[in-house]
Symmetry: C2
Subunit: 236 residues, 2 copies
Amino acid sequence: MRDFSQIKVLAFDIFGTVVDWHSSIVQEIEIMNLAIDANQFALDWRVGYRPAMDKVLAGELPWTSIDDLHRMILDSLLIQYKIDRLSEAQIIHLNHVWHRLVPWQDSVKALEQLKEKYIICTLSNGNIRLLVDMARHAKLPWDYIFSAENFRAYKPSPKTYLGVAELLNIRPEQVMMVAAHHSDLEAARECGLHTAYIKRPLEFGSSRIKDVSPCVDNDLHATDLLDLVRLLDNSF
Amino acid sequence: MRDFSQIKVLAFDIFGTVVDWHSSIVQEIEIMNLAIDANQFALDWRVGYRPAMDKVLAGELPWTSIDDLHRMILDSLLIQYKIDRLSEAQIIHLNHVWHRLVPWQDSVKALEQLKEKYIICTLSNGNIRLLVDMARHAKLPWDYIFSAENFRAYKPSPKTYLGVAELLNIRPEQVMMVAAHHSDLEAARECGLHTAYIKRPLEFGSSRIKDVSPCVDNDLHATDLLDLVRLLDNSF
């Protein structure tokens, strides 16, 4: 059994890992009665996210917050889906749906338990205001909120993972990155962090079940965040 | 009556404003039975703080965290007070007393109330880890923790006050700086922030009552943080 007694900080990916972006967006779109495929719209919005961040990482775009990247993608989707009856205020409100994402059922309870033993923080590509609004809305009890905005670099840049350790004044191996995405964990591991994978087979909704096979390089492979509590408790 | 309806964020100074550094340090020193004047030791430790930060602001020292500045001052005080029986582990523990400062009696209750209506954050010269540990220890319910470390500049640098507005994506006048020190509020005001002064006559202990006379340039002048709640409620 591995010994995780040196771990002091748990750093959480947010979109898909702690909050259920897909169903939150589907629900808000359905309420708006836009007569479009809400499931597909949510998937299309999300799929534009990585290429947009990659443009920033590659220097093709100057530093741009996720709020602004989400808006760029949304503007093109409104054209693609032929949605022309929304006012500017309604579009701004819709774009801020990412501030109002709903946590997975296990998230808040597990975070409260983990906080008793660890410093719990976010490490998300979401901008600070988005993460602050989300924490208030969803009652996520973070000790600290780290955003790509703090480092002006998006994950998987090493600046983000190493920045968490530096600003919390601990060694990288004292941090465990928690995420539902192997690519995030792989980049964290290369920086010396421990890693825990969280299975979220419904991240993209029930129409597109996600492969949640384990990767042997991760330290832990948990069904959800309450399972992570159990796995960490059993590791001593 | 002034209208503060545009204010969305309250940014709090910490040492002296939210927590009582003087009595916290006096108490820990007294428990250590060092046979020294604990009151004077606490005052001497604190008085070394501003000159040390000014050296960083002037570029005479590279960026140095408050933990490290506190340690530099502590090391010289240990010589001055002829304290030579402490182990390195004990000195590290003593230096971290700043992570364990106790809030003023009104602070936690008032912050919980203010959080219902405003985004509440720190804006402190304390380093991030110090502020995170303090929030956990004292149960301070921050929405966000801003430290000089985020901006690599100490207050009263404009980078700090303007940085809060920029990273929360709002205008400076939507932020109210809350502090027990007129110099902090003056610098905030020059950056366009609103300002609230909190009277803390016992900041330096009962041997040196602080002058808490109002400055007319501040928007509010409160007896404590619960009084701030009342003044803000009455401002609409």
